[in-house]
Structures are given as C-alpha cells and as structure tokens.
Amino acid sequence: MLTVYDGNGRSFQISHAFAQGGQGAISQLKERDDLCVKLYHQPPDAQQIQKLKLLQNHTTVLTGIAALPVSLAYADAERKKLIGVFFPLIHGRAIFELYGVRSRLEYFPDADFRFLIHTADNLANAFERLHQAGIIIGDVNEQNIRVLPDASINLIDCDSFQIADQKQTYPSNVGTPLWTPPELQGMDLTGVVRTANHDCFGLAQLIFLLLFAGRHPFAGIPRHGPPLSPEEAIRKYAFAFAPEFLGVPLRPPAGCPPLVSLPPEIQYIFLRAFQEGSAQPGARPTATEWKICLKRLLQSLTICRQHPHHVYWQGAANCPWCAIIRETGINLFPATLSNSSAVGFSENTFLTRLQNLTIHPFQIQPVPASESEPDPLPAQPAGLWSILQRRLAPTRWRYRWLGHALYHERRVYATARSAVRQGMRDQQAVIAMYHEEFQLARRTLESAFQELSQTPAIRQELEALLSQPSSLVKMSGGPKLSTSTQHRLQDEITRCENRIQTAQQNCARQLQVSQATTTQAGRQRNQAHANIQNLIQHLRRG
C-alpha cells in the first residue's frame, strides 16, 4: 500500500488505480472520496510543475467547472520527491454516454431534448469560465468531460490544459484527431500554442453531438466523389448538415434530425463554427454566444402531441423525432419504464403503438474492477519453534504463516473469476436471445402488413395515411381506416406487443438475477485479488 503526501505534508493512503493514461495512473484514496491522485510514470519536469502550480491558482474559483489540481503529490513528507498531483474526484458519466442514445437510455433514462440543451448550455458556460481565466483546454474530447445527473459539467484530465504566466505559455501538447480543428489537422501538437478559437471547434462539435443524438457533424454520405475519412472531412470543412447550396461534398445520413429543426440563429452559428473561414482568429462562435443562443432555445421548445417525450423547437415544421420514427422505425426518445405509466398514450392510434415497438437497449453490466480492502492477515504462528524459525529461516517462516491463506485465496479467486465470466456470458446470451425474439416478432408483424396491404383497398387506406404526417395527430378526425382493417391491425400489433413485452420482461428478470450473482462474484473476486496482493507483499517482505 503506497503512501503519498500533499503540499502540506499530510499523508494519504492510495487505495486503487481506476484509470490509466499515457502519462500516469489515477488512483483513489482511502481517506477521501472527493479526491484522487494522478501518479506520473515519468517524474514531471520544471515546466510541468510550474504549469500545475499556475493551474492550482484557479482551483477554488473553478470548482464545479473543471477538476483542477488541488495539490502536488510527493513520495515523502519532506516534499523532496514530486511524483504526481491531487485532483478532485469527479463522478457522473462521460459526455459520450449522454449523447449516445443507448447509453443515455441506460444512464440518463429520463433525459429528454431539454436536458441535452441544458447540458450543452452548461458546457458552454464551463468553456466561457475557463477562457475568461486565460485557460485553453486544448485536448477537447468525448472522454474528458463528465456529466452529472443534474446536467452539470465537469472537465477532467486538466493537467493537459494550456496556461500562461508573464514569462511564457505552457502548451497543451496533446490532441485527438477527431476533435482537432481543420487548421491543426495532421500537425504535431507538441509546443503548439492553442487559442480559444481552437477550443470553440471542439465545443461546437460537442454541442452538435448533444443536439443531434450522437451524430458527428463531419460524418455524412458523399454527394459526389469518394468517401472521406473523418480527418479529411474536417480538413475540407465538410460539415455534412450544411445546406446543399454551400457545395459541401457530404450530405446528412438517414435517420438524423435536419439542421432546420433548430432556430436559424443556431443553424447559423453551427455553420460559422464548421465552415471555411472559421480558422480565422475569433471567427468561431464563442462560448458566450453559444450560451445566449441555447438559453433562447430553451425558452422556445414545445412538446410533441404524439409522443410526450419528444421535445423540440416550436418553430420546426414538425417533430423531428417523429420524422425519424417514420423514416427508420426507431424512437430516439422513447417512453422509458420509469416515465411511461405517468403519461398514458392514446391507446387507439395504432401507428403510435407501432412506433413504440422499439428494442430496449439492454446492456451487459460490467463488473467493477475496483480493488477492495484486503482482509486482515492470519494470526502469526505462536510458540518457541516459530520464534526460532523466524530468526533462522524467515522465508520459510513467512510461508508457514501465510502460505495456506494464499493457496486458499487463489482458489477463491479462480472460482469467483470463472463465475464472473460465466455471468457475463449468461447476460450476453440473454440479451442476444431478446434481440432475436424482437426481430422475429417484428418480422411477423411486417409480413402480416405485407399480406394486409396486398388487398388494394387497404393498401390505399394505408398509403393515404402515411403520406399525411399530420394525420398522425388527429387520428380521430382525419382520414380513417375502415373498422375491420383497424381491428386486424390492432390484433396483429397487440400480439406483437405482447410477445415483445414478454421477451423484454423475461430478459430484464434474467439479467437482474444474473447481474446480482455476477456482481456478488465480482466482489468476491476483487476481495480475493486484494487478499492475494496483500499476502504476496507480506511473503516477499523479508
């Protein structure tokens, strides 16, 4: 167990590493659950130390915005050997787990479009505050921004920020190609001085991902020419959602909300962030501008009459999320188990029911890899023989003391580990079976429709219905299906719904059981692992 010391000489016990980076490993502390420590693989040089100290000046002011250094970490109480740095420990999820639809439904099940705009607004606020403090983020990416359940934002991995004092600039040196602005693409970023305008490229991309259900602004379908790699697309300012007349070589993929589903001022600032000319100093929309526009968007939202979970800009021609359902059959903001009962869908509109037949995003629950506190060591053997042996043959004595426990723990570890593996396999099988059942039910429904729609009269009815998106809203008043057709459709859908619901319930139940046992086994495994490490450490110490 390693001890580290902070700038005041206070000691902390390291409990376990939970993240590995290129420069160092980040560990939790035993005494504090609001702090973590990053231990560098290479001792930091004078430049790095100066940068950490400069960043530390802003720590208090920027609490709740960025996890800036709390203190330097030393290997000794005399603070001679610098080995790392203390950061606030930030919980929440990485931002990609919010903009990714499947993980959003898992970790933020109640988050609607409004929540995503709030997050974007908080993100812009964080960028604004950092830029005001003279800090440039540099390495903006999907993994070093955390979102908390209340949509607040915290930046982590802050030792790569860029900051300056009177004498010099301490650059970020790192970057991620997918998040690098066109003007820096392909460059070696070591020593490159970054600007707020560079950061604002990443900010605009993140806001885009949040507002467009995880779609990357530079991923599209070629209008002409060969497919572009993402880096090429960025370098060519090929913002796939730009209006066609701008001559961008990409067009938006299917199943995305269109750019025009957002207010003109937001369309305009997305264009300013991504189009040619945005590399000019100060050309991209600043964090402050984003904040103003997003605040205004928050005030001009409306709720879809068809799906109460669909929130969108009131000026849009129609609900973009419903349009995606019509296009692909997928509901990006479905009613979740936690909120569906409260809303009460209009049961009779069969198209609504059809649209709600979406696959539930079951996921395998990863077993936490964290280490636990080792159990106390077995009692030392007593007696004269033991004292003698300890003096004369310490290794053998240690083995007599701990060997049996080690053997036992290893067996426990092996059993628990295979139980964890079995559990994960079971979960995977359960999910795969659910997927199969869902597809099967869906296919049955489709063939039923195919059969139905071969009757010309019914076909006409259906086509008339589908060609008129507004008919969805007023099913009762608008064009109506004949009663017999309705009945047949209702029956088919009900059968399909029941089948899917049963499958989903079974899956949920089986997953729950399996997850419980797997987590239990995981805990056992972690415990045994900690014990083994501890025993080995004591066996070797001699």
């Binding site: 787990e97 090429e232 059959g329 995977q428 489709e446």
Partner: protein
Amino acid sequence: MTDKLAFVGMEFVDNPEPRCPCILLLDTSGSMRGEPIAALNQGVESLAEELNSDPLARERIELAVITFGGDVQVVQDFVTPASFLPPRFEADGNTPMGRAVITGCQLLEERKRMYQAAGVNYFRPWIFLITDGDPTDYNTNTWCQAVELTRAAEAAKSFVFYGVAVNDADQAKLNELCAPHRPAEKLRGLSFSELFSWLSCSLRSVSLANPGVLRPTLPPMNSWALLEA
C-alpha cells in the same frame, strides 16, 4: 408500408459512433479436435466479455465470425459485443482457408458499404485468421484469389490482416496471405485466452484512437506469440 417499417441500418440510428469492424476467420477443421477447439471456444467467449467491459469500445467494435472446417460458414455477421453470442465451435472436415478469406473479404466489403450508406465513420478493419492446418485449397484458383485480395487490401490499406499459426500449421503458406511486414505469428502452445485478451486490448486501443489513424500503439504480443529466436 413495409418499406417504412423495415429495419434499415437500425443499429446506426441509435448508435452512430464510428465502427471498428473485426472478422475472426477460425479454423474448425478436424485437426482442431479436442483441446484446441475447447481452448478456442473459451478464447472467443472471453474476447466478447472483455470487449463488453469498456463503455466506448462496446459501442464501436463490431465482431463477425467465419469458420472453415469442411465448409465455410458465416457463423456470426457483424454485431456489437453486447449482442454477440459466442458460438460453440465443433471441429470437423478439411481446411478451405482460401475460400474463407474470400468470404471474409466479401462480408467486410458489404459491411463497409453499409457504413457508407448509413453515413457512419469506421476504423481500419481487422481480419484475424487462426489456423492449425494446411489449406486444402492451396494451389487452386481460390487460393490465388485469396492471396491477391489480401495483398491488394494491404497495399490499399483497406484492412489489416493478422495470421496466427497454431501447432503445426504451415506458416509458409499462411505467410502468403500476410503482408511482408506483418508475417504470421506462431501461437505458444494453446494460449488462446492470452491471444484473445491481446486482441481485445488492441481493438480497444484502435477504437479509442480515431478513425483513420493507421498505427495506434498496440500491446506487445509476447503473452501469446512464440517469438522466433
């Protein structure tokens, strides 16, 4: 009507993350019978499990499995790890390796077209071939075609091909499929679990780098590869 309900690229609508496709071409011929096939089964299971434990990788990596033992079978088309059900392999038949490689390339091309049609970025795909045998279609047109395909793909950097030789596999023939700078590796004993653990780590680091990055740093192979003296 049916068109509107069809599942066109459904997996890309609610998960447009860039994809990192990997095809496993697995030798399930008669010579793999017994311990090797059991170790292979276990290895593939642990691969899926390890991939599932990484939140971003499990949205990005897609696995497909093709076996060649007697005939060539697409056992699993591309899926993300959460819906990947590790198949149970049975060892039987001869070793139509060339045909398997061609099938793999076709499957991959098809998948790439789907990515392009769905407007989803992808990383450089991986084809990972594991064999303990002698290709039974060696010196046929099929074999020549397979060699041509892998060589052309390596030159165009359209995928990365890894060959792994188990036991007494004919490494020289396997090397014909591999790029000269990335010759086939020899598996140490039956350390399949180490092999798949390496594959999982590598795929994760590839998928977390960025699409288009040609050579992210991969973990060392010494846990499973028999290094030539």
